[in-house]
Symmetry: C2
Subunit: 309 residues, 2 copies
């Protein structure tokens, strides 16, 4: 019998599933999330899908699931997007598969593990991953393991203070890094730049997105370049604060904003030396995340591999 591991990424609208053997990914799937009845259909739906997708010569040995909420000792404690109040994931899956190894991770940590072990972080043990999306998420790997901090709040780097008495943040603080370098923050900077200039720009009267801003900078739009210069300087400053604290081997940039690719990466690397302590200036590596939406299923696969080996 061929031993099979399923890595599952549970989101509010969709459940992504990856079928793996010990050599890697065999196939991936997606099903809709049914969050009705306090999310009580979710685990039966996953179990039934997996059963239907195992061949006769395949045996399920492990399954790990990433959930959008806090996890403590295998129990999910409040995941609003999927209507879970308190779910003992291992116990529930064992009703369907009594003898397998069950894992459960917070979804951000799962994505971190996936990118670290199978993406740009492969081979590194001490790293930081920044997810530049609507907000700015952070994840830290130390000695090859996700470092969650004393109370599960490590990696809240979006709330490093970039500018005292700066832009108001949803967290109640002012000047948080997230307000400058997330997709939302970048658009805010662009609006400021456009307002303070009379120069022509592709960006004028457009529905601004970080993609449009970076694309316009790439084709030489002067104001768009000004925005990307400011934004990458802000990001470099924030990254340096992190590196001056924990000195990772590599910093990985992921999330929607990182689609700006090497244009973004190069500017951040250039400006990083203006904020990092000298021993870090040229030893710190930078990379773009490569797994995108698949990071979660890979991270859950790694979670089971870590428990088996």
């Amino acid at each position: 019998m061929k031993k099979i591991i399923f890595g599952v990424d549970l989101g509010g609208t969709q459940i992504k599933l990856g079928k793996f053997d010990f050599d890697g990914l065999i196939d991936k799937y997606a099903i809709d999330t049914n969050i009705s009845d306090e999310g009580s259909h979710i685990i039966p739906d996953i179990a039934s899908f997996i059963k239907g997708n195992l061949k006769k010569d395949e045996e399920l040995v492990g399954l790990s699931i990433g959930v959008p909420g806090p996890v403590a000792c295998g129990v999910v404690l409040g995941a609003q997007n999927i209507n879970w109040l308190k779910v003992d994931v291992e116990k529930e899956f064992h009703k369907f598969f009594p003898n397998i190894i069950v894992g459960v991770l917070n979804d951000a940590n799962a994505a971190l593990l996936g990118e670290c072990y199978f993406g740009s972080g492969k081979g590194y043990k001490d790293l930081v991953m920044l997810t530049l999306g609507t907000g700015l998420g952070g994840g830290i790997l130390i000695g090859g393991e996700v470092y969650e901090g004393a109370t599960g709040s490590s990696g809240e780097v979006g709330h490093i203070c970039l500018e005292r008495n700066g832009r108001s943040c949803t967290c109640g603080l002012k000047g948080c890094l997230e307000q400058y370098v997330s997709a939302t923050g970048i658009v805010r900077t662009a609006k400021e730049v456009l307002l303070n200039s009379k120069e022509e720009s592709i960006l004028r009267d457009k529905d601004l997105t970080s993609k449009l801003i970076f694309d316009s900078a790439k084709v030489g739009d002067k104001l768009a370049i000004e925005v990307t210069e400011r934004v990458t300087d802000d990001l470099a400053c924030g990254i340096a604060s992190i590196c001056n604290t924990i000195n990772p081997e590599i910093v990985i940039l992921g999330g929607g904003v990182s689609a700006a690719g090497s244009f973004l990466l190069k500017k951040v690397e250039e400006k990083f030396v203006n904020y990092a302590f000298y021993s870090l200036r040229f030893s710190t590596k930078f990379a773009l995340a490569v797994l995108g939406n698949d990071a979660g299923i890979y991270g859950n696969y790694q979670n089971i591999l870590g428990k088996i080996k």
Copy 2:
């Protein structure tokens, strides 16, 4: 025979030695450092002192030494203050004590270990210690072990950017936290405050020190209070950047500036909530270092205990 461990703190002018058994400190001593002849007398001097201070019923089983320089695999690589270019500490001590366990630590990491295991950090596994002296040093303990980072540069928190394009730092950067909250930085802030005000103050025409500034604030001097408000706000902002990144259980303040005691600690704790992410605001503990100059000998003692147990 009673088993004895020596913890040694090697400085440029003085060598501090602590004699321990498995129950703790028995006695402590200090001898002068002879750095002549490329520091070649240092190890023989220590060995000879220890031999002379062992009673007939005592047996040396371990010795660890903290040195002012980088350490890799038990070898000290360049310690200018003591004229050491490259010294294999274990090998050298084994010439005098062939059968003992020998340890060697960087002195800052030794002080961190000491304070963590025998001082204010006792019982905590994830913590940050800041040493507010002429500069600002940082040390990080993760899972009960000193975390050195990918290239030995973790804890360079003195170079977190507090103010972009702010005060010039010796490291070549601008606006480094160290330039605002170290003893030197505090004096600089006081000079600025005095210059920009015509108010009377105890501080006027004095030889400014951080001690005088805090002492004057404690007795109600208005400008001194203004300085300590600014300085503790700066420090709280820097500490929050660290905590937003790694979420330690406790932050310990040591070094000369921390002699300002609970006056300093209370102000920093109050202002910390203005810069820390909400889940950290009230979960993060603060304490003053208590071992002072003895932290190094305790840390070296712990280094041997860790190797024996």
